[in-house]
Symmetry: C2
Subunit: 329 residues, 2 copies
Amino acid sequence: MAEKVTIATVARHARVSRQTVSNVLNSPHIVRQETRQRVEDAINALGYRANQAARQMRTGRSRLIAARIDPTRDGINGSVLDRFLHGLTETADAAGYRVLLYTATDDDREIATYGDLLGTYELDAFVLVGTKHGDPRTEWLADRDVPFVTFGRPWDALDAHPWVDVDGAAGTAQATRRLLDAGHRRIAFIGWPVGSGVGDDRRAGWRDALRAAGVDPTGLHRETEDGIAEGERLMHDLLDTVAPSAVVCASDSLALGALQAIRGVDPPVSVIGFDDTPVAAAVGLTSVSQPLGEAAARCVDLLTGVLDGDHETPTPVLLQPSLALRHTA
Amino acid sequence: MAEKVTIATVARHARVSRQTVSNVLNSPHIVRQETRQRVEDAINALGYRANQAARQMRTGRSRLIAARIDPTRDGINGSVLDRFLHGLTETADAAGYRVLLYTATDDDREIATYGDLLGTYELDAFVLVGTKHGDPRTEWLADRDVPFVTFGRPWDALDAHPWVDVDGAAGTAQATRRLLDAGHRRIAFIGWPVGSGVGDDRRAGWRDALRAAGVDPTGLHRETEDGIAEGERLMHDLLDTVAPSAVVCASDSLALGALQAIRGVDPPVSVIGFDDTPVAAAVGLTSVSQPLGEAAARCVDLLTGVLDGDHETPTPVLLQPSLALRHTA
DNA sequence: AGGCAGGATTGGATCGTTCAAGTTTCTGGA
DNA sequence: TCCAGAAACTTGAACGATCCAATCCTGCCT
């Protein structure tokens, strides 16, 4: 069993002092080329890796980012968080950070966990997925100057913090325009109850696209909690009342329900979902696709901007979704 | 901004030495009750939290567990990893550990990542999800005496290491017996190509249950890669050739495909899937349910057993799945 | 009352790194 | 040739916890 390789081992091997090795790692430019090469060779030869705990003690930086993982609460959309976390891990890694998971059952507990993670592990930053009106979490973090980014824009104008989001309205608008271009006029919308920022945003995109095309959206939309059964129920309702020729949905779950409701209806009703989940791909549902990997990458960009340098407030990022075309529209 | 609270702050506040505070934290039984109380009060009053980096430097233990997160490769089954990770995070937390994520695109890179994580962060243990024949990862870890657990049993008898798994054969057997009890005799099976440990296991459960009931399984099974389209294709094939009255599938994706294939067939063909994914719940598919939270908890149990104490080799855990009954069977 | 055993408490050393301040070496211009 | 100033490198101290060995109590027994 080889003894532990520390910075001192490397220093001895390269015939320089500890500090010079440290400089090669942290401020390479102040070390002479020749010396730097010698140190780097020693590092490689010995397989040296800087001990993060010791580094952290001195610098107060853990190079750790926290993200929450939830039980899959929303049946179909569960994979969204999954894909986002994967992207986050990958990009953070490239930037020299690691992702630490935590869970919490409610906001109070989540905030208590923040304190624990910050105190015990000295986390560098948090990534919050999803935001809501009057979010106590962002307030708590901002009050303590803890760096964080949210995937999801702040719905209350007051608190400004770095965020990344996907333009849901643009997504539903794009979906709606595609249907308009295909000749549809009675294009319905199935979404979530008024008051959820995300839901209102997606509905607005549909509404505005219709209006821009000179179609009156009045009476063409329905609201419900998310779920396949709910989507099916509302689609039946729409068929019975306004008989749309196409429908845009706020989620793939709702769209899947709608698909079940229109089975056998002739002429076929076009359906477009939201999130481009694996299920949508599997059943051939056209769906608005969020660039989750890109979103995760931009979150990391914003964080490293705050952590590693520029003190200027980072610019929020609003990404454009695309339409994954399949055979339902 | 309050100054940092260290063990010295607590000691001063409680009028004891640093060591006594440390003892209260690590070996409470050797401190007099009265003193202990005073120290604990001070800890609470000051909101003290032991600095993990400093502790780690001295003890060499990071209280960090690594787990891999994959991009959702398998459409529907993606949420399995999701749910497992959530359970892992929750249980690890309760045991005083945190979960660190990493990604890797292939085995070599994954092993390189092990080295990095161990060298830099001094990870305490790894949790590997999924195992395969001749897995180089388990070998690497075992060679270096790195503690790890796999969720998925080792398919090669040779290398013994702590593992937790769900008895897939028992799951498909249970599903098969339920269909037998309902009067079915021609019960087909749609699964994965021979050679994958998991797939073979699930098929064996179906086969043995049929044989035990005196039914010959010959010709009643089909194999393919996972996917809805594949499931649909094979179900059509089965209908055309052996005309089963029920089918057990190795995954919910395959089952969903089968469901599409039997639409309109009369009398209705019963279908049972595997994994009890949210999609199964949504479409009313009866499915074999893996106790993922329990599996994660047992993984943590095994690890803490190795890390915090008993040197005896921990006993592998084989959990029993249950049947989530819905209206397809 | 004295001595002793044993538990409770104390100060000092240590983990591996970076920071701050010091010392040596190099470079170029008069 | 000499020296100022910059560049390159070295040394000592510190981060906050635990471990170790020495010391201080305390109660108990003779």
